[in-house]
Point group: C2
Chain length 240, copies 2
């Protein structure tokens, strides 16, 4: 039995009860090195196997192989679908017939970070990753254009890395073609973990603010405002 489990933002309380149960019931927990370390603090008695970054395929293969005769939890931060391992587990499962896969949803960073900022995601929104590792940059640019044009609140994942230092600036420049510089934006770093940090700022300021890969970025829609220091998108449009 393979559970593909979303562990939420990193605190034990951000995990669902189903996720906790799956982990407690598993013979083996498989995950990315960093997230296995975080989980080990909450469940020190469990047995773990971890692989490093860009070793997703090896990680999923290992989890599927062990799940043939054990109960295994393949853990992902946030939700296991979104930029996670659930899809890959199903894609590789043909080589492991008879292994049942169950996806256990988790709270993705868009929502756990949004709760820190206030309520930026009250209304329609898009999530776009700025990583071009597996997606052509042309496609990412097009998505930013479209999401900005139709006034969706935009959540940016993987906004930066050492090799992609200017990606957030470039993304803001695309969005600035459609939205004013004073559009309310925000970001949260290390959501639910030690060193959690958040800031609310304008789109113009965001353009020139360096963020790291552990940061989730929010660009408000035309109605998003600041209320009592929180980033709030209303439930609708006043002129309806």
């Amino acid at each position: 039995m393979l559970y593909v489990v979303g562990t939420g933002s990193g605190s034990r309380g951000g995990m669902t009860i189903d996720a906790e149960q799956a982990i407690l019931n598993s013979d083996l927990i498989v995950g990315y090195t960093k997230y296995v370390e975080l989980l080990r603090e909450h469940f020190p008695e469990k047995k773990y196997f971890s692989t490093g970054m860009k070793q997703e395929r090896e990680r999923v293969e290992a989890a599927l192989a062990e799940a043939a005769d054990k109960t295994v939890s393949l853990i992902c931060s946030g939700d296991p679908q979104l930029y996670g391992m659930a899809g890959l587990a199903f894609e590789l499962s043909a080589n492991y017939p008879g292994t049942e896969i169950k996806v256990i949803a988790g709270v993705t960073a868009a929502f756990s970070g949004g709760a820190v900022l206030g309520s930026p995601l009250t209304h329609d929104f898009a999530v776009i990753s700025l990583s071009d590792l597996l997606t052509p940059m042309e496609k990412i640019r097009k998505r930013l254009e479209c999401a900005a044009e139709c006034d969706l609140t935009i959540v940016l994942y993987n906004p930066s890395s050492k090799s992609r230092a200017d990606y957030l600036k470039n993304a803001c420049d695309i969005i600035l073609k459609y939205r004013p510089g004073d559009t309310v934006c925000g970001y949260v770093k290390n959501i639910g973990r030690d060193g959690e940090e958040s800031r609310i700022l304008t789109l113009a300021e965001l353009r020139d603010t360096p963020v790291d890969m552990f940061t989730t970025v929010y660009v408000g829609n035309s109605e998003t405002k600041i209320i009592g220091g929180k980033m709030i998108t209303p439930r609708g449009y006043k002129n309806v």
Copy 2:
């Protein structure tokens, strides 16, 4: 103290540990009649106050007023931001100075339903509500156009109601201008609750399928496929 709490899809296990704690620590639980009934099954010993549909303002005002000298949980299904009460609580909070508001994120239907279908939300996506109660229909149409044009996976909330029987059909017609009729789609009804039902079908079939307001609808991107009866969006694009 006011907690604005996302209770997830409806099963107790789909709730986060933080959400459960907030509810257990509250003197009063405030929510929409239907969700209060569901929660009462899990926490029969708690005190509840409920209001009906379209009485969101009354509900939030009641929660804020009680929170002046009590610990109150204002509950929302899924996540409390998305089409929920968190934004409104902050908007109305100026009238209740001194009341602290804390948002406790939950698993929204996009993810709990996605886990039932497989992994439709592996990559960039948009969430769009088809309800035009608070949003001009022109804006909803534009968002469907844009999301379809840039190949985002699309999740549709509030796809139908008695007075909006043809809204899903109209939405599919817009998406069909950009995506072929054999695009992999899916829907899940009553996620995590009695009567849960899901189906994977083509966009052309979806267009002519009646769904109700308790259904969440998924339109895959150009890479979404069916693997072992599950709806799977890959992590990226093969031609990168």
